[in-house]
């Protein structure tokens, strides 16, 4: 009887995991289909949708726009987020809880509210349609992931190591650069990866701020899904799944390295 209950429980969990994982994968065979319209299983193999994706300016321009604005947003988020994480974990100041709430709020605030709020003011300054508006807005949405991951990494740093470096004559900056920074580097990279994925994937910001001159890949896919479904979007989706998987694998490796570092006793 207990084994039956166990089998039912494990079977149920397996079904739910299949529900979570399999739908993501159906787009991969569709992207290699020879058919113009959706048909499954695909009648034949073809690379035409990938050719389309890489040869049409509408797709390549949007991809470049997404890539460079997301990279710029990530750099901005790291440059602002790493010092902020140090300030928040090491410093004490009035209103710290409020500051933390402000920094984390973009994750939980409804996307539409943030998007129209930025649009309301950015439009007044002629920022709509300018890539720099996307960079700034995506950085604000991505920075919580840097702060969260770096704060977690800082929590695992043995402060006696910094103290030792200071006692041995290092300047505070030297102690940070030579002791603390190497220890939190995996946290910084993991935060940067999550920040990049968030910035790269952001649609609502692009819907209101991209205009017609700063169209990103999510915005382009959105237009396709709303008006005509051409299997090129299956190719774009498959490429995005591959990119996500690679980036996530990288983040996971970094997380394990950080965990190992934390558990090995300091020398």
């Amino acid at each position: 009887m207990p084994t039956l209950r166990r089998a039912i429980l494990y079977g149920l969990a397996g079904l739910v995991l299949a529900f979570l994982f399999l739908p993501v994968l159906v787009v991969v065979p569709l992207s290699f289909s020879s058919a113009r319209y959706l048909s499954f299983p695909p009648p034949g193999f073809s690379l035409q949708w990938y050719e389309n994706f890489f040869s049409r300016a509408a797709w390549t321009d949007a991809t470049w726009m997404s890539l460079w604005t997301a990279v710029a947003s990530t750099i901005l988020a790291v440059l602002l987020g790493v010092p902020a994480a140090i300030g928040l974990t090491r410093g004490r100041f009035p209103g710290k809880a409020l500051a933390q709430a402000l920094i984390l709020s973009p994750v939980v605030a409804p996307g539409i509210v943030v998007a129209i709020g930025l649009y309301y003011v950015y439009a007044r300054y002629g920022m709509v349609g300018r890539p720099v508006a996307l960079v700034v807005a995506q950085a604000a949405l991505a920075v919580p992931f840097v702060v969260i991951n770096v704060s977690a990494a800082l929590g695992g740093v043995d402060r006696r190591l910094e103290q030792a470096a200071l006692n041995l004559g290092a300047t505070p900056w030297g102690a940070f650069r030579q002791v603390t920074l190497p220890l939190i580097r995996p946290g910084i990279f993991a935060g940067a990866i999550f920040a990049f994925v968030t910035a790269f994937d952001e649609l609502l910001i692009a819907l209101f701020l991209a205009g017609t001159t700063a169209v990103t890949l999510p915005r382009r896919m959105w237009e396709q899904l709303n008006y005509s479904i051409d299997p090129t979007i299956a190719a774009a989706s498959s490429l995005l799944i591959a990119l996500t998987t690679v980036l996530l694998g990288g983040a996971e490796i970094l997380r394990r390295r950080a965990e190992r570092q934390r558990t090995t006793p300091a020398e």
């Binding site: 969990a13 993501v24 787009v27 902020a84 410093g91 500051a99 509210v113 003011v121 604000a140 896919m221």
Partner: protein, 292 residues
Amino acid sequence: MSVALSGAMPAAGRRSRPWRLPPSLLALPLLAFLLIFYAYPLASMLLRSVYDQGWTFSGFGALAGDAVFWRVLGTTAQVAFVVTLACLLLGYPVAYVMSRVRSGTANLLMVLVLIPFWTSILVRTYAWMALLGRRGIVNNALIAMGVVDQPLQLMNTRFAVYLAMVHVLLPFMILPLYAVLRGLDWRLVQAAEGLGAGPLGAFRQVVLPLSLPGIAAGCVLVFTLALGFYITPVLVGSGSDVMLSMLIGDLVNRLDWPRASAMAVVLLAMVLGVFALLARLVPLGRVLQGGR
């Protein structure tokens, strides 16, 4: 080191420590950035709901008498509630099993959760469109198996909205549940069983109460995210599945800022209200670490 600061901190400014600023100053650039480019625009838009060359409540007044608004508010709350309940019922067994298997297996299962989690919402919604369309994968399979002769209307239904939203939001339930269940002291369950409780009794009286913080965190995350959902309901829903965020977007496109900003206030107040409840139960940072 500025004069004002060195006056306040006499120990600072020694020559061997060239810059000894309080570390809290390091948070200033980010806070300034967020205040200028994020908080200020958001606040002025929200303020627009009560201020337009003078204080006014006409935006909220218009909402109060707007039947469409109330209907959409009802739909939004209902969808968010159903999706949260479904996520809890589907997510709990997964988190439970993940916390009971060996850590290698648990890591593998975690990958199955995290890859869809980090895959673009557009990609996942497109996948559901491909599955549920008139000539989609599900309909083709049903016709091929002879279950139906005519394709079923699956897309642009409330059912499709539920399915796709549960798919997107399920990881937000599984991750906090797993975090709590993994840290649970399972010897308590053995003790309960040793004292004569059946497996279901031990679950109900030991596991379930101890996992309540995870349940609360997961439900609040899923519910608040569902309240503000936009992309999925637009693409797979029908005209009767309009959510609050869709109505807001529409109003902005028509430049009806009084109503749009008032509705944004309502939506944000609902989200913050539910979150304020959660903040009393669980530290937020822990819930969000590594997750979106």
